[in-house]
């Protein structure tokens, strides 16, 4: 479970919210409002004021590398630093069986792990980056447009994998411009929207609106 208290990002008002185990929260709002910055701040990749807790552990009281094993951020354009995807997989907590299952569920051939990254398609790289992000089972996933380079079939597979993560008690924060995807996956929505768009107003702030979109 992720709890955020008075997190201050750029010119957004301070944000407080909670995402429970097995819950998915969509982060929404127009381009440039600070969705990616919020996502990066959750993984402590950007300096911000405020408190973030995962299962009781506070961000600043947890060593940063350890924190990023709790809150895993997956960028919309994931970088690679090795020749093959296999070398980039975290060494901790991985089992060959788990890797193969994850590859299969994302429609990736096992030998893709050993191909040069440079010959893979954008969509293949995006799915391999998801494998990389999931393999050591972080409790909180912060995903920045995880299906932006995928066709509908592969998008559906990714969503299936994410649903499986939710069933297993992980929390997901999802940035997505695909409203249908948000409707399919999200339990909560965090709407980052400009407020008071008065003509001539010098600055736009933004007002977070937390709405529960699933009612059971």
């Amino acid at each position: 479970m992720l709890r955020v208290e008075k997190l201050k990002i750029a010119n957004l008002p301070s944000l407080s919210f909670e995402v429970g185990d097995g819950e998915c929260m969509a982060i929404e709002g127009p381009s440039g409002i600070g969705k990616t910055r919020l996502a990066r701040a959750l993984a402590d990749l950007e300096p911000t004021n405020g408190h973030i807790f995962v299962n009781g552990a506070e961000r600043m009281e947890t060593a940063a590398p350890e924190w990023r094993r709790l809150v895993r951020y997956l960028s919309s354009e994931p970088g690679w630093w090795t020749d093959t995807a296999r070398e980039a997989l975290p060494s901790e907590g991985r089992s060959e069986g788990a890797i193969l299952r994850l590859l299969e569920s994302l429609n990736l051939e096992p030998q893709m792990l050993d191909k040069p990254i440079s010959v893979l398609s954008t969509g293949e790289r995006q799915r391999l980056a998801l494998v990389r992000a999931l393999i050591d089972a972080p409790p909180v996933l912060v995903l920045d447009e995880p299906t932006s380079a995928l066709d509908p079939r592969n998008t559906a597979l990714v969503e299936e994998v994410l649903r499986y993560q939710l069933i297993n008690g992980r929390s997901i924060l999802l940035i997505s411009h695909d409203h249908d995807q948000v409707a399919r996956l999200a339990d909560l929505r965090l709407q980052l929207a400009p407020v008071g768009e008065k003509p001539g107003a010098a600055q736009h702030g933004a007002e977070p609106v937390l709405t529960d979109i699933k009612t059971c």
Binding site: P47, P65, E66, R68, R69, L74, G79, W81, A88, A133
Partner: protein, 267 residues
């Protein structure tokens, strides 16, 4: 020692060669005439000035004046490092890193050569201390500037990969290790190339100077060998310190990549 002294007419004759540079700039429309003129005048004035300054300092043989000039050399070299960076850190951190590293390797390198190897009496004789410090600084400066600028530029370019590694739980040094390795290699390359080429392709400046001044070539060579090892060692040390220092500069204690600490690229 015998040598043929040069007079003003000789120097003017040599200066006429700059016309070739001028002709090249004009023929290819390089627009470098102004820079050529300014830099020629600047070089002549700087060298003439340092000639008089050195003559005066040599006459004093005072550790205070020697240390004073050494300090100026280190500060200027530190400034030169920062001015060679295409991506500059905000504030004074880069100047501090550049000059601090040079102070350390300059003192260690020159101290080692003067106290440990040459052993002049008194040890602080500026005739030994300053030229050796100059050579250590000149070479270390090139290495440090290359390492720092490669690191800052590559970190910017490799940002996605570095942050991906951080996101997976790597600490800042292992996340940036590929970039750091590239930066260290780049910084060490000139001195390694100079070692390979010296003696066959190029007669090093100091050795040439000593030979022209009438020193026995064998003796000049011995000095040159010592100097080459000295600057190689000092450059290696400087490059490593500057490399790690630059990593500290663009990351923080929370293992974040802080490219916001760099100024925007100047056009």
């Amino acid at each position: 020692m015998t040598y043929v002294p040069l007079d003003i007419t000789d120097l003017m004759l040599a200066a006429s060669l700059i016309l070739i540079n001028g002709a090249v700039s004009w023929a290819f429309a390089l627009g470098l005439e102004r820079t050529l003129l300014i830099n020629s005048v600047r070089m002549t004035l700087q060298l003439a000035m340092i000639g008089f300054v050195l003559k005066w300092i040599f006459a004093q043989t005072s550790p205070v004046w020697t240390a004073g000039l050494a300090t100026i050399m280190i500060l200027v070299a530190g400034y030169e490092i920062v001015s060679r960076l295409s991506r500059r850190p905000k504030g004074f951190a880069a100047y501090l890193l550049g000059s601090g590293t040079l102070l350390l390797v300059g003192t260690l390198g020159t101290g080692f050569a003067v106290l440990g190897i040459i052993g002049p009496d008194p040890w602080y004789q500026p005739r030994y201390v300053l030229p050796i410090l100059g050579m250590v600084l000149g070479n270390a400066m090139t290495g440090i500037a290359l390492t720092t600028s490669t690191l800052l530029e590559s970190a910017n370019r490799d940002r996605a990969a570095i942050e991906a590694r951080l996101s997976l739980g790597a600490n800042r040094f292992s996340a940036i290790s590929e970039t750091l390795r590239l930066a260290l290699r780049t910084g060490l390359m000139p001195i390694l190339n100079a070692m390979a080429a010296s003696g066959i392709v190029a007669l090093p400046g100091m050795m040439t100077g000593q030979i022209l001044a009438g020193l026995d070539p064998i003796e000049a060579t011995k000095y040159q060998i010592m100097i080459m090892f000295l600057i190689a060692g000092a450059t290696a040390l400087g490059v490593v310190i500057a490399g790690y220092g630059s990593v500290m500069l663009i990351t923080d204690s929370r293992h974040r990549l802080r490219l916001d600490r760099l100024l925007p690229t100047s056009a």
